[in-house]
Symmetry: C2
Subunit: 235 residues, 2 copies
């Protein structure tokens, strides 16, 4: 990995366990309020709304909107769909901010701390800056920089997201690695000349996950965890 | 300081000793090359070129340009003015990156580490992202986020620099403190509703410094160091 200066991480799924974290948080919230809801189904539906909501921004159907706002809009739709009554505006704001309180996978903080000793590390995420900064404080993630989506005002896999971050780091794309649990993200990065690192997260979407179970190309690094990536990069 | 969530720091002079760091680095470089130059005068002249070069960007006289490029242009002008011969392009690139290798004041890392336990901390600097990220790696500064000048594509004291950072943090201006050794920076922040913290750096410009020797208004916090600021904020 000669000349590698920085590693940019996809965040949701790659670094943090959004599904397990949100199911735990919403289940506790529901129990405290006496709500009878299938929170696992609720969280899966919330995440299912993620890509379509971003696509409406990406295609220009709606103006630039940060992920916190998209999450809130999806939440309001799902609260109605699941027949949940009695939530206040403060409740909805609190639940939306559940995405700021996600836990890392067991290897994430240790692996990132090792990689940080040798490389610049940053998220390159569709999350907005506040979401990512608050998440890092909550989960103890030691980023050097936080590339949130408002900086390019665009969502992955738009090329400007990847190239803009490389440029701001003063790096050529070949000096930067994209690290992700999602093959589409690495394909987009490789097409722009970046290096690629796959981190397998076969239970990100739960026990019945059907995609991204393994590396689908000869990515430069293929790892089972961020610690395994650190092993391979000599950190 | 109820409701305070984040502290944004001016960097050059407030967090790092640019003058002492650059005089030491350039003196060592000059000695190794057998160059007979008054490096203290050289560094002071380099910094003197800083504000005029940014003002040409701020007024629209030249298009958006990052500080690394402005530093390089000023360096080339000064190399000629000081009659320094024999420098290669690599030498000029190395010297320009001297601004990425600045040391913190003795209290900076300890004070910021304490403040980070309670608040989001980030530079809000005219430096570009790569400069600030590399400087943090070099000096061991534990930022949560790095607001470099390419993010707003503007230089302080333009209001969008301050307001854009507050917005990206999901904060109202009153929830964010600007911390600086320079009264003008705090005046700009206060006018926008931000809180203000003065950190005295009476030798930033050397022993004959004539401005910013003390707080010139009733800033919310007035401190003699970043550790002193941490004391006052209960960290």
């Amino acid at each position: 990995m000669q000349g590698l200066k920085a590693i940019l991480f996809d965040t949701f799924g790659t670094v943090v366990d959004w599904r397990g974290s949100l199911i735990a948080e919403l289940s506790a919230f529901g129990a405290a309020r006496g709500l009878d809801v299938d929170w696992t189904a609720f969280v899966d539906a919330w995440r299912d709304a993620y890509k379509p909501s971003m696509d409406r921004v990406r295609t220009g159907e709606v103006p630039w909107t940060i992920l916190d706002t998209l999450h809130r809009e999806s939440l309001e739709m799902l609260v109605t769909k699941f027949g949940i009554a009695g939530l206040t505006d403060d409740d909805l704001a609190h639940l939306t901010k559940g995405w700021h309180r996600l836990h890392g996978w067991p290897d994430s903080v240790a692996g990132l701390t090792r990689l940080k000793s040798k490389f610049i590390i940053s998220p390159l995420s569709n999350g907005n800056v506040a979401l990512l900064v608050n998440m890092a404080k909550f989960a103890g993630i030691p980023w050097d920089m936080v590339f949130g989506s408002e900086i390019p005002r665009a969502y992955k896999p738009d090329p400007q997201v990847y190239l803009g971050a490389c440029s701001m780091l003063g790096c050529m794309p070949g000096e930067v690695m994209m690290a992700a649990a999602h093959n589409y993200d690495l394909a987009a990065a490789r097409a722009l000349g970046m290096r690629t690192g796959f981190i397998a997260r076969p239970t990100e979407y739960g026990p019945r996950q059907s995609k991204d179970l393994r590396a689908e190309s000869d990515w430069d690094v293929i790892a089972t965890s961020i610690e395994h990536m650190a092993d391979q990069l000599g950190c």
